[in-house]
């Protein structure tokens, strides 16, 4: 039986138009700069495009508990059910359980295209569990893309095995290329039967990461690099990291903000290391973007996340529920192929429909404007302000509309009394929208309207159900027509 699976037949892929037509919810500097051969591989990967993630889902299976290093942003004790961040997990699975879970999810959520092993430790520090899972999945569920993320320490020893499976993406977390910086991030590594500390440890880790990156690229396996932005530790240094990894052939760089709260029990959290402000993250991403394809919509999900990015349906697929499910995977693959084809058709149609956002024909002297958007998916402005769990941030400028990133509207912990809610949800949301001059939503209440205006953010509910980029561009044109953008940046700062 031959199944037509997206991403394998190159003839029917939207290569030439692709995301460069501008409707990917994104971005010149995301997928559209990639060579066609790479874009073919990643266009239905929810983690790689703001647009695809509204249509395609991913899941992680937590089969890899052991780790071979310690990072100052990680606490190996943590498994809070209300937490949503990397390294956190509720239920550890054996490879057999993991394979069963993946097939159950793929059958129930046909939009699921990608399976990742991301922890909760380091997947390559658990080679038997990780590779047994991959081996079984490439045999039993060949329509699922496999990916793995690693700290890189054991990567050079794993490249041969990785190349054997259906794995075309590896993510390496590289926070530095300078051991002096590394010593401030990694207190120790386990190496050659010893616990190695300090600069010596950082140097070994960096050497292994770089060697692994080069080996993967030489094998034609796509490499994405993740970096955690830690203000005062590696913020300046990450531009250098971006240059180095690009030169060596990484195809995408994902700079993520440090998550550090004392209640997480991490070194950075307890020692009061601050997380970066959204503007700092954006400035660094923009600075790196000249050299490198940057990723801007990472939701930093858990090591056992299931579903679309930003949502987690893991509770529907606990092992006791999966044991009770009967799965006919051959039938599921047929259904999945149909669903994927329908999604592709919809994405293609959308791409053709909104090419206008790319070259709007606006005089070049107008300054760019940031706008927040409340959306529940589908590329539309379709969410009530008060229901938004996050805001997408777009920049409108004379060169068009581009996706900048997302801002969490509620904090990582919600509703748990031990986590202490210190400010109201509305205040949190206004802070999340810092730097935006407009917020677009389907509806908004009277009270938040007033408070947003006071904070210098104009609420706008007039573009409900419209495509995001068209609406952002329309509002930008309205601002120009109203004369709001006539003042220069310095005049605005003085005002």
């Amino acid at each position: 039986m031959e199944l037509k699976v997206l991403g394998q037949a190159s003839g029917d892929l939207p290569v030439s138009k692709g995301c460069s037509a501008g409707s990917c919810g994104s971005t010149d500097d995301q997928l559209s700069q990639l060579p066609d051969s790479i874009r073919e591989k990643v266009f239905n990967h929810p983690c790689y495009s703001e647009d695809a993630h509204h249509y395609f889902a991913r899941m992680h299976v937590a089969v890899a508990p052991a780790c071979n290093i310690q990072c100052h942003y990680c606490n190996r004790k943590y498994d809070c059910a209300n937490e949503s961040r990397p390294g956190v997990v509720s239920e550890l699975l054996t490879p057999t359980q993991a394979v069963k879970k993946v097939k159950a999810v793929a059958a129930s959520i046909p939009q699921m295209t990608v399976l990742g092993i991301a922890g909760p430790g380091d997947p390559l520090a658990n080679p038997d569990r990780t590779f047994t899972t991959f081996r079984q999945l490439s045999e039993e569920a060949p329509d699922i893309k496999l990916c793995v993320s690693t700290n890189g320490l054991a990567l050079p020893d794993s490249v041969d095995e990785l190349a054997k499976h259906n794995i075309d993406h590896v993510t390496i977390t590289i926070n530095c290329v300078d051991p002096e910086v590394g010593a401030k991030i990694y207190p120790w590594i386990f190496w050659n039967n010893r616990r190695v500390r300090g600069i010596e440890a950082a140097k070994i880790l960096i050497d292994q990461q770089q060697k692994g990156l080069e080996m993967l690229v030489a094998r034609g396996i796509l490499v994405k690099v993740n970096s955690v932005l830690i203000p005062g530790v590696n913020d300046k240094h990450l531009e250098e990291v971006s240059k180095v990894v690009k030169r060596k052939g990484a195809f995408l760089h994902n700079v993520m903000p440090l998550i550090a709260e004392a209640e997480h029990g991490t070194f950075f959290g307890v020692m009061g290391q601050r997380s970066p402000a959204p503007a700092e993250l954006q400035a660094l991403q923009d600075a790196c973007a000249g050299d490198m394809n940057m990723m801007r919509h990472c939701r930093q999900c858990r090591a056992d996340a299931v579903g679309l990015l930003g949502e987690d349906r893991g509770d529907e697929f606990t092992m006791d529920k999966i044991e009770a499910m009967e799965i006919d995977y051959a039938a599921a693959m047929n259904k999945r192929a149909l669903v994927h084809a329908a999604i592709k058709e919809e994405l293609d149609a959308k791409r053709q429909a909104s090419a206008t956002a790319r070259n709007p024909g606006i005089p070049a002297h107008y300054r760019p404007v940031l706008m927040g958007v409340a959306t529940s998916g589908g590329g539309l402005i379709n969410q009530h302000f008060g229901h938004a769990r996050e805001f997408l941030v777009y920049e409108a400028s004379p060169s068009g509309v581009r996706f900048i990133g997302h801002r969490k509207a509620d904090q990582y912990c919600s509703g748990n009394t031990t986590c202490g809610e210190t400010e109201s949800a509305l205040a949190t949301n206004i802070r999340a929208l810092q730097g935006c001059e407009v917020v677009l939503c389907s509806k908004i209440g009277y009270e938040p309207w007033g408070q947003l205006e006071e904070a210098g953010i104009q609420p706008n509910g007039e573009h409900a159900m419209e495509p995001i980029e068209d609406a952002v561009l329309a509002v930008y044109r309205e601002m120009i027509a109203a004369g709001s953008l006539d003042e220069t940046a310095s005049e605005r700062a003085l005002a």
Binding site: R76, P187, F190, N193, R195, T266, G420
Partner: protein
């Protein structure tokens, strides 16, 4: 001469494959060490391998009950700072 794994172990499996004597085994609520098999890695390695990769302070102890990884030795967080931070969180 044998190490012991005590309460606080997070069952991360890191130690289990490293033991040259296969003395470590999964159990509930946490991993355990067979004291008849454990040699503290004498003759095989300079340091007991389990305690060398273990990420959790205080959970692997020697015959005298002394932890191989005392508080602060792995995270780098001074114990008094950790106590302060926990007190601040409790007081919220």
């Amino acid at each position: 001469m044998a190490v012991e794994i005590i309460e606080g172990c997070v069952n991360c499996w890191a130690c289990e494959p490293l033991c040259p004597n296969q003395a470590i085994f999964a159990s509930a609520p946490h991993f355990l060490v067979d004291e008849n098999k454990c040699t503290e890695c004498a003759g095989d390695f300079d340091d007991p391998q389990c305690a060398t990769i273990c990420p959790i302070e205080g959970v692997i102890i020697d015959d005298l009950g002394i932890p191989f990884n005392p508080p602060g030795s792995l995270t780098g967080i001074p114990p008094e700072r950790m106590a302060e931070a926990m007190a601040e969180i409790q007081a919220r």
